[in-house]
């Protein structure tokens, strides 16, 4: 095996691997990885009964990859906290991270491999399962085999790629409902990097077009940390949030501007117009076509299209020039339209005009191990997969970390498409909708029982690999770690290279031993490095400096094609908590009220009271939300934190499977989305579906009736949370 191949096997392959390497250690003590049953009469040195010990690992509850500490006592992991060693999340984790233990201890886990037997899945042994895999996958080759995963990174990602290579396939569908794929495309085109480092903390003012950076975003904890700095620095940062449904981040805005759904690009052009024509900011680097487009959108036209008052636009544009450096962000509600690319481009162009690139948008540098970098998902792959499956182009697919059957709109006809896939393998912890239709179910260990490495998508200033180590023994003997399953699969194809690793632990130890010395602080003692790494949980890897360009690409007129159609625009808003639905089986998160609407354990439709009045709907009515693709029936909650032209149905509920906590609760708005796509990137235009809403009956609402003139929404004259003007803060606490 040549060195290049070796590095690729070990996950260090790719452009950055020029770092100095190191020899494979001559002896590997595999014994160290063996799990032993230890009697508490003679506990291990580090296990003191009654005393909790904190171990480092990595959270995989979303794809942000925060480093965590898990408190282990008497062999059980009890509580997760952020790992302060990681500059990404600085010792913090979000509610989803906190609830990780519940997924681990869930009573609904798959405990045994299962194989399809007619309509049902029956338990089987690993030997049988692997034999079946050998047989089925052996018969497939090339692009008729595919992996279907969520965002995946680290050595697991490398092994998935390696397995695909071994199968001779290039089909890796990576699907995430909560994604920033369109922004990535724009960023790539305008700044040269898909995920440049966003520096909210450095900005004096942030204008966020629907970017819920502290909510369901790429790295909510990281951005929340930045936000805290942004707010507490000497000149308190100013946040303007422009969106159709108030997001968690919008709740914290100094100015929250409701905007007609799908017109964010127009508003951005209007601001550009003001900046260039009124405030006379230089238009250097703006292509002529774009310049022309900008000039078309004068303030009154923009105000009319977007529904945002002209003086507000002017004021924000004015402030953007006064508060420098600023930062303009675009979120999924900007992306999710047929003209999504154009809208995002228009928004991001403001950063160019305002000269933010390089100041608040930095290069995230060249991560030295591209093979480990996160393969980020979007919805384009879901569409591609549906198409390929429908065309019967897939004979075998392995599913992991994604639940396409749940999250694909009905319009994609994925159910039928799935039937046309020859052999479906689900590597899964739970019986979710996708797992239920699989032909072979492989129970995967929870992330708290498994080895792995994670590379966060959004890195902080110090790029790092986060190491995931088991915090306790496996709850179910018949579950296997993802890495172990991958190794088994690879061994079936390429036993020469992978046969020597008894398990994934052995593989990782080898991989760490093979890690370039520069990353290891030039230590040669691999055991020491390994131990230190496990202790710290984080390996700092210097990203070599990159530099962003600041250009503006040409983009089409971001005009909303359905702006004047009947009905309302459906906002399928993701929540920090249930996220895209993957956490619906965690009771803590079900019981945590939605941050804005305060609803628990259910779905709801969120509408502005004015809209509701027009439609004859009153608060808590049962309403039917219908699109061309179908309808869902649920309770309505009237909140003024909605634009009058939008109705939001949050993601996360409506599971038809997925265990006792998730099943049968609420509705899944993804089902009724149109299959419209972004013209440029082919991503699903998730925020553009038009719906009609009608009341179908009053809901049982006794428990929510409030007394008197006030309601739980109002402070009723008390001083519970008082709002003080920033001038007061400047006087008392400012510089």
């Amino acid at each position: 095996m040549n060195r290049r191949n070796f590095l690729k096997t070990m996950g260090w392959g790719g452009a950055g691997a020029a770092l100095t390497g190191c020899d494979l250690p001559t002896t590997i003590t595999l014994e160290e990885g063996k799990e032993e049953v230890v009697s508490y009469l003679m506990p291990e040195e580090y296990v003191i009964p009654g005393v909790g010990v904190w171990y480092a690992s990595t959270c995989t509850q979303c794809s942000a990859g925060c480093a965590i500490h898990g408190r282990v006592r008497e062999g059980r992991v009890l509580k997760l906290e952020g790992n302060p060693e990681a500059s990404l999340n600085n010792g913090k984790i979000c509610m989803m991270g906190q609830a990780g233990v519940q997924g681990h201890y869930s009573p609904d886990r798959v405990t045994k491999p299962m194989v399809r037997n007619g309509d049902t899945l029956t338990e089987t042994s690993w030997d049988n399962a692997m034999a079946l895999l050998q047989e089925k996958l052996g018969a497939v080759s090339g692009d008729r085999f595919a992996w279907f995963t969520g965002t995946i990174s680290g050595h697991q990602s490398a092994l998935v790629s390696n397995h695909l290579d071994a199968m001779g396939s290039k089909q890796h569908y990576v699907h995430e409902v909560v994604n920033n794929s369109v922004s990535q495309a724009v960023n790539r085109d305008m700044f040269g990097e898909a995920n440049p480092r966003v520096r909210i903390d450095k900005a004096a003012m942030v204008v966020s077009f629907g970017a819920d950076f502290m909510g369901a975003s790429l790295s909510p904890v990281h951005y929340a940390g930045q936000y805290a700095k942004f707010r507490t620095k000497k000149e308190r940062g100013l946040l303007v949030q422009i969106e159709s449904k108030m997001s968690l981040t919008g709740g914290s805005a100094d100015l929250w501007l409701p905007i007609k759904p799908g017109t964010e690009g127009v508003l951005a052009l209007g601001m550009a117009n003001l900046l260039l024509n009124k405030i006379k900011v230089s238009d250097a680097g703006i292509p002529n076509g774009v310049r022309k487009l900008i000039d078309e959108y004068d303030i009154s036209k923009v105000a009319k299209i977007t529904g945002v008052a002209g003086h507000r636009i002017q004021r924000v544009a004015q402030l953007l020039t006064e508060r420098s450096p600023s930062l303009v962000l675009a979120g999924p509600s900007v992306e999710g339209h047929a003209h999504g690319y154009a809208s995002v481009a228009a928004v991001m162009m403001l950063n160019h005009i305002l000269g933010n690139v390089g100041k608040t948008i930095e290069s995230s540098g060249q991560f030295p191990f591209p093979q480990l970098m996160a393969k980020q998902g979007g919805t384009a792959d879901l569409l591609a997969f549906a198409e390929a499956a429908k065309a019967e182009k897939l004979d075998a697919v392995v599913f992991y970390g994604s639940n396409p059957v749940y999250s694909a709109p009905k319009a994609l006809e994925l159910n039928e498409a799935m039937n046309k896939v020859g052999f479906k393998v689900a590597i899964s912890q739970f019986m979710d909708e996708t797992t239920e239709v699989a032909d072979l179910v492989l129970p995967v260990a929870s992330y708290l029982e498994d080895w792995g490495t994670q590379v966060p998508m959004q890195q902080s200033e110090n790029s790092a690999i986060h190491v995931q180590q088991p915090l306790m023994e496996k709850l179910y003997e018949d579950s296997k770690g993802l890495g172990d399953i991958l190794l088994s699969l690879l061994k079936q194809r390429n036993n020469d290279e992978y046969g020597k690793f008894e398990d994934y632990y052995a593989y990782l130890r080898n991989a760490f031993a093979a890690m370039p010395a520069a990353v290891k602080n030039n230590t040669t003692n691999n055991n020491e490095f390994w131990n230190n790494t496990l202790q710290k949980g984080v390996i700092d890897v210097a990203s070599s400096g990159g530099k962003l360009k600041s250009t503006v690409v040409s983009f089409a007129d971001p005009v909303s094609e359905s702006a004047n159609a009947d009905g309302l625009t459906l906002v399928p808003s993701p929540r920090l908590g249930l996220y895209d639905g993957r956490h619906a089986n965690l009771p803590w998160l079900q019981e945590a009220p939605d941050q804005i609407s305060k609803v628990v354990w259910d779905s709801w439709a969120e509408m502005h009271p004015t809209t509701a009045e027009k439609l004859g709907i009153s608060n808590l009515d049962l309403v039917e939300v219908s699109s061309a693709q179908g309808s869902v029936t649920l309770r309505v909650v009237l909140l003024k934190s909605m634009h009058v032209d939008a109705v939001a149905v949050p993601l996360g509920q409506g599971h038809e499977a997925y265990g006792r906590y998730a099943k049968g609760l609420g509705v899944n708005p993804l089902q009724i989305l149109d299959a419209t796509t972004d013209n440029k990137t082919g991503e699903l235009a998730m925020y553009s579906t038009r719906v009609t809403v009608k009341s179908v009956g009053p809901a049982d609402s006794l428990s929510i009736v409030r007394m008197g003139t006030g309601s739980g929404d109002s402070q009723a004259g008390r001083k519970l949370v008082a709002t003080v003007p920033v001038e007061q803060l400047r006087r008392t606490e400012g510089s």
């Binding site: 006794l702 007394m707 008197g708």
Partner: protein, 468 residues
């Protein structure tokens, strides 16, 4: 206008004995029907309580913020009901209003049994009732004491004192009658009365001491009764909650207690009069006096209500004022206005002689007066919890079927105990009716005698009490 007599003085003493003793043996069938209904209600409540006991207090729909609800309202209601019996008996005794004599016995029994009913509610409502005794001050080797600052501990002291004192008052007053029973019955009743009459023979020494203890007890009971309901009001008044922390609560509670007690006396008066054919003793004249008294107390209660509203209104305490407005206009408004109607408007029926003398009307009215008083207690307990300082926890709550079953059952429980009591013990004080007849006759003088005998002839041969 001829003043109607409270009682016919010509009634023979033997008839008094016979009538009352007869009542204990031979009530109308309606008595048994009522008793059966009461027992059935208790059975439902026992079932509900079993569910609540095994599953938890949540079955009563209690929640944060409604940690208390109808159980406490019912507790206050029953405590209040207990007031009239003893307090009226004691006050009327002190002021020598002898028309109390035919009715005080059952009124005092009502006191005792409504206390026994009230006493159930702290237990029913307690999350861990098996630890109830921790409220009592007993010496424990861990050095634990109850918290003497807590109005609930005051309750425990006050109610146990009141229960003791009112039961003793009832018992002491009944001793001469128990002796009569002893002398006129046989079998188990004889044994029971022999023990309970404590060897009463009616000697002058016994009567002298009896007179004294009765007076002393009455003197104790009046301040005690007032303090008990003040302390019950302290459960609320000592808190810092709007609608609870109100200075006028002690008198307000006492007035409300007397009010509901008087209304209950009217109800039971009519029932007993019918069950036991007591028309000769529980006369319309006495009924009228009771009704007038009830009316007076109703007006005191109304006044105190207005005082409370006014002091809240002009006090400008934000929390209190918004709560008052919410009571009158919010979701609980129907209950609030029913309370005002039943408590302040309906009593005006008592001002009309025609209505006062019409038993069915009075029966219904008295029930509605007490309905109003139950709502009053509930309007004190629940709305404050619904709408306290913290607006996030504002809520509206109505009790579950479990809670209703238990509250209804408490009426059954009270009725059951009361009906058993009046069946076993003389519900009209025989010796005192005799005294009443005796003294009235003496003071009426012989010259009136002829006129009076015209209008109601003695039913049987008079054998006694014909002093010259």
């Amino acid at each position: 206008m001829v003043t109607e007599k409270d009682i016919n003085e010509q009634i023979a003493w033997a008839k008094i004995n016979t009538d009352v003793l007869e009542s204990m043996e031979n009530p109308r069938p309606a008595f048994w029907v009522t008793l059966a209904v009461c027992v059935a209600m208790v059975a439902c409540a026992v079932l509900a309580e079993y569910i609540q006991y095994t599953e938890g207090m949540g079955t009563a729909n209690l929640n944060n913020p409604h940690m208390w609800d109808m159980y406490i309202a019912a507790f206050v209601f029953w405590i209040g009901m207990s007031h009239s019996g003893t307090l009226l008996s004691a006050i009327l005794h002190l002021i020598h209003a002898d028309w109390r004599k035919p009715i005080y016995r059952f009124a005092e029994a009502m006191t005792t049994f409504s206390l026994l009913t009230a006493g159930l509610f702290p237990m029913i409502h307690l999350g861990r009732v098996w630890n109830l005794y921790w409220v009592l001050p007993y010496v424990s080797d861990r050095g634990h004491w109850p918290n003497f600052r807590s109005p609930l501990v005051w309750d425990a002291f006050a109610i146990s004192t009141y229960l003791t004192a009112s039961m003793l008052f009832l018992f002491v007053g009944m001793i001469p009658d128990l002796a009569i029973c002893r002398d006129n019955t046989s079998g188990w009743r004889k044994k029971l009365y022999t023990v309970l009459s404590l060897g009463w023979v009616g000697s002058d020494r016994q009567w002298r001491h009896f007179r004294k203890i009765y007076l002393l007890m009455a003197c104790f009971l009046i301040p005690l009764a007032v303090s008990v309901h003040s302390i019950v009001s302290a459960d609320f008044a000592m808190s810092i909650m709007p609608g609870w922390h109100i200075t006028s609560f002690p008198p307000y509670f006492v007035a409300g207690a007397l009010y509901s007690g008087c209304a209950a006396i009217i109800t039971l008066f009519i029932l007993l009069r019918y069950f036991f054919r007591f028309e000769d003793y529980m006369t319309l004249a006495i009924m009228e006096k009771t009704c007038k008294l009830t009316f007076a107390i109703a007006m005191v209660w109304t006044y105190l209500n207005l005082i409370e509203f006014a002091s809240i209104w002009y006090g400008h305490d934000m929390y209190n004022k918004e709560l008052l407005i919410a009571k009158a206009t919010g979701p609980y408004a129907p209950i609030f206005w029913t309370m005002i109607f039943c408590g302040s408007v309906l009593p005006f029926t008592l001002a009309f002689q025609k209505l006062r003398r019409h038993m069915p009307t009075m029966f219904v009215v008295s029930l509605f007066l007490n309905l109003g008083m139950f709502f009053e207690r509930w309007m004190i307990v629940a709305p404050t919890l619904s709408m306290s300082q913290e607006p996030h926890q504002w809520d509206v709550m109505y009790g579950s079927i479990i809670e209703w079953a238990i509250v209804f059952g408490s009426f059954g429980w009270f009725g059951m105990l009361f009906l058993i009591f009046v069946k076993v013990f003389p519900s009209v004080s025989m010796y005192e009716v005799k005294e009443m007849v005796f003294h009235r006759k003496r003071s009426a003088g012989e010259e009136d005698l002829a006129r009076m005998t015209d209008h109601s002839k003695p039913v049987t041969q008079t054998t006694g009490g014909e002093g010259a």
